[in-house]
């Protein structure tokens, strides 16, 4: 089955959120618009809305991530859901329980949604295909494959700062090879109509087939950043760097680290983004990270309404599918 299609219910609405790949422009725009509406609720004294009242959301983190987990937790709470945080790395699976046993146990506790972070590519898809049909699955990052909520909060940030995607030039800089964020961003940007997407990095950190996604690859910052409106810096993923892909960190910083001088190649009103956590002095200079063009902390703020939007839409789509299935069963009787 086309992997993007298991994300949609019979009516074509979102019921899981696993990847930005293959989703239509209409769905991606609906996600951005819904998140935009949630922003206004985040500025009130009472920040919760009752949409997911009585629902149980399980944060299923097989890989550590403090920020992603906490923003999902806050988003679930602001939708009035009950949330259970499971740090799997230190629990049942390490005692020998299989993944399927863990999932079946959680289903038996009447969970309504799983938020899954896993070091293996495809883990969230696997779970979406094998859990009982009324559980919505949100991918919070799987291996090198996808990190769709991060990509969409970045789209929300670009949309709010630059309004519209058609006429933008966007450069993604750094370790493209190991980055699930970059992949999800590229699919989202292309679908939303962005014509000029570039990746910049050493050849060893750029996948060979990257240009088949409709992006241009550059090996130097001067030509790659020329005239761009958005610069997305990626973290140098030291923990995923098993082979010697780089001569040294200082060499990397000299060539690809974003400092004031290199940022000047981009348009004067270009914004600087970074999915975090940032390595100051490794991929970005403090003067840029904290400077007037940086929107890094806005990305963090936008993470909560974006995750609220995706959770509310997926839960709504799941509920709708269950209602339709019940109707069909009654019709068959």
């Amino acid at each position: 089955m086309d992997p993007s299609q298991i994300q949609l219910n019979k009516e074509g609405r979102l019921k899981h959120f696993l990847t930005t790949e293959g989703l239509s422009k209409e769905i991606l725009s609906e996600i951005i618009d819904t998140a935009n509406s949630f922003i206004s609720t985040q500025e009130r004294s009472v920040k919760t809305v009752p949409l997911l009242r009585g629902k149980t959301v399980v944060n299923l983190f097989f890989e550590n991530s403090t920020r992603t987990r906490s923003t999902f937790e806050l988003a679930a709470k602001r939708l009035s859901a009950n949330i259970l945080n499971l740090d799997i790395a230190s629990s049942a699976t390490s005692k020998g329980e299989t993944l399927m046993d863990t999932l079946w146990n959680l289903e038996s506790m009447y969970s309504d949604m799983f938020v899954v972070r896993h070091a293996d590519s495809g883990a969230a898809h696997f779970i979406a295909q094998h859990v009982t049909p009324n559980v919505a699955v949100i991918n919070a990052g799987d291996g090198r494959h996808a990190h769709p909520t991060q990509a969409m909060l970045d789209m929300l940030t670009i949309h709010r700062e630059k309004s519209g995607f058609e006429n933008l030039s966007v450069a993604i800089v750094g370790d493209i090879l190991h980055s699930r964020v970059a992949r999800s961003q590229i699919y989202a940007l292309k679908t939303l109509g962005c014509h000029d997407v570039r990746v910049i990095g050493p050849n060893t950190l750029i996948p060979k087939d990257i240009e088949s996604l409709g992006v241009r690859a550059f090996n130097n910052m001067k030509s790659g950043l020329k005239g761009v409106d958005v610069v997305i810096m990626l973290r140098l993923q030291k923990e995923r760097m098993q082979t010697a892909l780089l001569p040294s960190e200082s060499e990397y910083y000299r060539l690809y680290g974003l400092n004031t001088e290199k940022l000047a190649y981009a348009n004067h009103d270009a914004i600087v983004m970074h999915p975090g956590p940032i390595n100051r002095g490794v991929e970005i200079e403090s003067a840029v990270a904290d400077g007037p063009q940086s929107v890094i902390l806005k990305q963090v703020s936008n993470g909560i309404p974006m995750r609220m939007a995706v959770m509310a839409m997926a839960m709504g789509g799941q509920n709708q599918e269950q209602a339709l299935l019940e109707q069909d069963q009654e019709g068959a009787k």
Partner: protein
């Protein structure tokens, strides 16, 4: 049976709302979408100086479990409502569920002093103990009929028959 002209109903409402509009600290809020159109006209006719509010109740609806989230959520834009007298405006009142959702949402923005409910048309068939303080008109219709307001220019009322 022909439906009344919205302009005439709005004129009726404006007349009935005049005593409220002369009070201090009045804020008018229209419910997206039809209520917002009606509120805009009332706001002008009553010459209210305070900012007009827009309430989108998508995040507060009680049919989320059946229908999911509305694909075109607008987001509410409200002025400060703390200790204010709110004139809450909607187009057609029937079950009362929209108004319940709207009041729940309002209280998440603050504690108003008072809420007055003004509706263009009351078609009966209430499912909750909620009544409008001001209505443009009351008409009786079978339960499988809905009356829909189209707009914003011109505002027109039409009958929609539901499938049984």
């Amino acid at each position: 049976m022909s439906l009344p002209q919205p302009e005439q109903l709005i004129a009726n409402m404006a007349k009935a709302l005049t005593p409220f509009a002369q009070q201090d600290d009045v804020v008018m809020i229209g419910i997206h979408t039809g209520g917002a159109w009606v509120a805009k006209q009332l706001h002008e006719q009553l010459n209210l100086s305070s900012e007009l509010g827009l309430l989108d109740i998508s995040f507060y609806r009680d049919d989320f479990s059946q229908n999911g989230l509305h694909p075109k959520v607008k987001g509410s834009q409200l002025p400060d409502i703390e200790n204010k007298t709110i004139i809450l405006v909607d187009d057609v009142i029937m079950s009362g569920r929209t108004i319940r959702a709207a009041m729940n949402e309002l209280f998440d923005y603050g504690r108003p002093e008072k809420i007055i409910l003004a509706c263009l048309l009351d078609v009966g068939h209430r499912e909750l103990p909620i009544q409008a303080d001001v209505v443009g008109d009351k008409i009786e219709r079978p339960v499988n009929q809905r009356i829909k307001l189209s707009g914003p220019t011109p505002l027109t009322l039409t009958t929609v028959n539901l499938e049984k």
